[in-house]
């Protein structure tokens, strides 16, 4: 898992039934992120929050990136 804002990385152990939302919240909590909106990227694809690890096709040693969703205008 990569933090898009800082470039720092951490390994994350996931089960097939974990959802993308849980991954986002776990990573945001680990990096003590502000309480804003975040999305998760795998390659060039944003992952839907309700998808599970299995649905999203996340496999061993895949790189995921946690990205803040810019809310400002």
């Amino acid at each position: 898992m990569r933090n898009a804002e800082t470039g720092s990385t951490v390994d994350m152990e996931l089960e097939e039934e974990n959802t993308v939302q849980e991954i986002i919240e776990g990573a945001a909590g680990y990096w003590e992120k502000d309480s804003g909106a975040y999305v998760l990227r795998k390659g060039k694809r944003l992952l839907r929050g309700q998808q599970t690890v299995l649905d999203a096709g996340i496999g061993n040693s895949d790189d995921l990136e946690l990205i803040p969703d810019p809310e400002g205008g």
């Binding site: 898009a4 945001a28 969703d69 205008g73």
Partner: protein, 263 residues
């Protein structure tokens, strides 16, 4: 027989250099109606680009007033506007109108949630320049329901995004949201039972990133109105100004998204 030409006449045409681009349909752009929702930093830059690009009928919607901290990134606002607490929508419309007398730029001071559906219906393209998720969801729902192209921009510090929604086929803004978006939305409108408190986070913002995002939004609007949807952003562009990176990301259409189920 062709009309005789005169030396230097090309410099007498405001849009002459734009015509040289070739694929831009200036006639359609000039006749189109454009709705800009949000008159903050993105709204200022977007409206500037629209007027310069030949858009002649622009409606701006915003409920807020100008404050001094807007002036690091809002081209059209002045210190006098902050002192007078001018409404952003009308201050922006007045200044934009001065750029080209042929334009009709109007400002509507209201929450987007109070905007008549007819305004959406009569618009050819909608540019989202908003600063909160609730308003984005509202605009997104109306555009999807009425089949109006929506080009949404967002910024945070030196990063930003642009998402193009062309109903009914495109994934919409709601398709890319998850629980963190709804939690952010809940924090903004916190109801204690006896009253509702509004939490407005002060987000990092600077003009260079705003300019980039606004420029991309308007260029996508030009493509939509010029019949070049085939060259539009298919989904979402993420821009990182610190690392000079731009990445087009695919947003999967959410089969559970109510806006698509109805279509």
């Amino acid at each position: 027989m062709n009309r005789p030409i005169k030396p230097g006449e090309s410099d007498e045409d405001r849009m002459e250099r734009s015509r040289r681009v070739g694929w831009i349909d200036l006639d359609r752009i000039g006749k189109s109606r454009t709705l800009v929702i949000g008159a903050g930093a993105l709204g200022n830059e977007v409206v500037k680009n629209l007027v310069l690009s030949g858009f002649e009928d622009i409606t701006i919607v915003d409920m807020d007033r100008v404050v001094l901290s807007n002036l690091n990134r809002c081209l059209f606002f002045r210190e006098e506007d902050a002192k007078r607490r001018s409404f952003k929508a009308t201050a922006l419309a007045d200044m934009a109108q001065r750029m080209n007398a042929a334009c009709r730029v109007s400002g509507m001071v209201m929450k987007v949630q109070d905007l008549d559906e007819g305004v959406f219906r009569s618009s050819d393209v909608v540019l989202g320049c908003l600063d909160n998720i609730a308003a984005r969801l509202h605009v997104n729902a109306h555009c999807c329901h009425l089949g109006r192209p929506l080009i949404d921009g967002g910024t945070l510090s030196t990063s930003g995004k642009v998402q193009v929604v062309i109903p009914p086929d495109s994934p919409c803004l709601q398709c890319s949201m998850n629980r963190t978006h709804y939690r952010a939305l809940e924090r903004r409108f916190s109801c204690t039972g006896s009253d509702t408190t509004f939490f407005e986070p002060k987000l990092a913002a600077e003009i260079t990133t705003t300019s980039v995002i606004a420029a991309i939004q308007v260029r996508e609007a030009i493509k939509v109105l010029s019949g070049r949807e085939d060259r539009c952003l298919h989904h979402l562009l993420r821009y990182d100004g610190l690392d000079n990176q731009a990445l087009e990301l695919e947003v999967p259409l959410d089969p559970d998204c109510g806006l698509h189920r109805r279509q």
